[in-house]
Symmetry: C2
Subunit: 104 residues, 2 copies
């Protein structure tokens, strides 16, 4: 049978399966605690992404539901950060057997 299957994993991969969301991940990797407006501004400036604020919000929600980012309120702005250990805990355990390449 192999690995007991984690239903969170496909959701996590699906969340990463979009160019805009990968750019958001890249932005947050460079700098945590960014507000929605900061992220919109940087995506427009650095990557010519022209989406409405609401569209970006939905991408952020998708990433949050996949536990890839976390949010916190600071005054009236909501700041977004990478979930520190999401990769170590989810992707990496799944990925390791493929790296080893042993057929058992």
């Amino acid at each position: 049978m192999g690995v007991p299957f984690d239903p969170k994993l496909s959701k996590l991969f699906r969340a990463l399966g979009d160019d805009t969301r990968l750019l958001i991940m890249e932005q947050l990797r460079q700098r945590n605690d960014q507000s929605l407006f900061e992220l919109c501004a940087r995506l427009i400036e650095e990557h010519d992404i022209t989406l409405t604020r609401q569209a970006i919000t939905r991408h952020l929600n998708t990433l949050e539901e996949a536990h890839l980012i976390t949010t916190a309120w600071r005054g009236r702005t909501k700041v977004h950060s990478l979930t520190a250990d999401s990769f170590e805990e989810t992707i990496n355990p799944w990925l390791q057997p493929f790296f080893k390449g042993d057929v058992e």
Copy 2:
């Protein structure tokens, strides 16, 4: 700006963002060179997946277009295998900066 963006990456993640396809990857990790019918049989027996042959074919095509698996003809059967180094070449370079956690 950061990393020069690889458009193949989101496609690869999206291909992994489906439970059935993750099960196929798991099957092929355990044993390469499986035909369509072998895969169908094992998915039904071991994971209670009840999909038609045509549905499995489309999942296999999705994985192949993402360069996660490769195919070869052996007589009149088409056998499927993992693309040996797809993870090392695509996911891993992208993943590393997140592991390090350095903010530059």
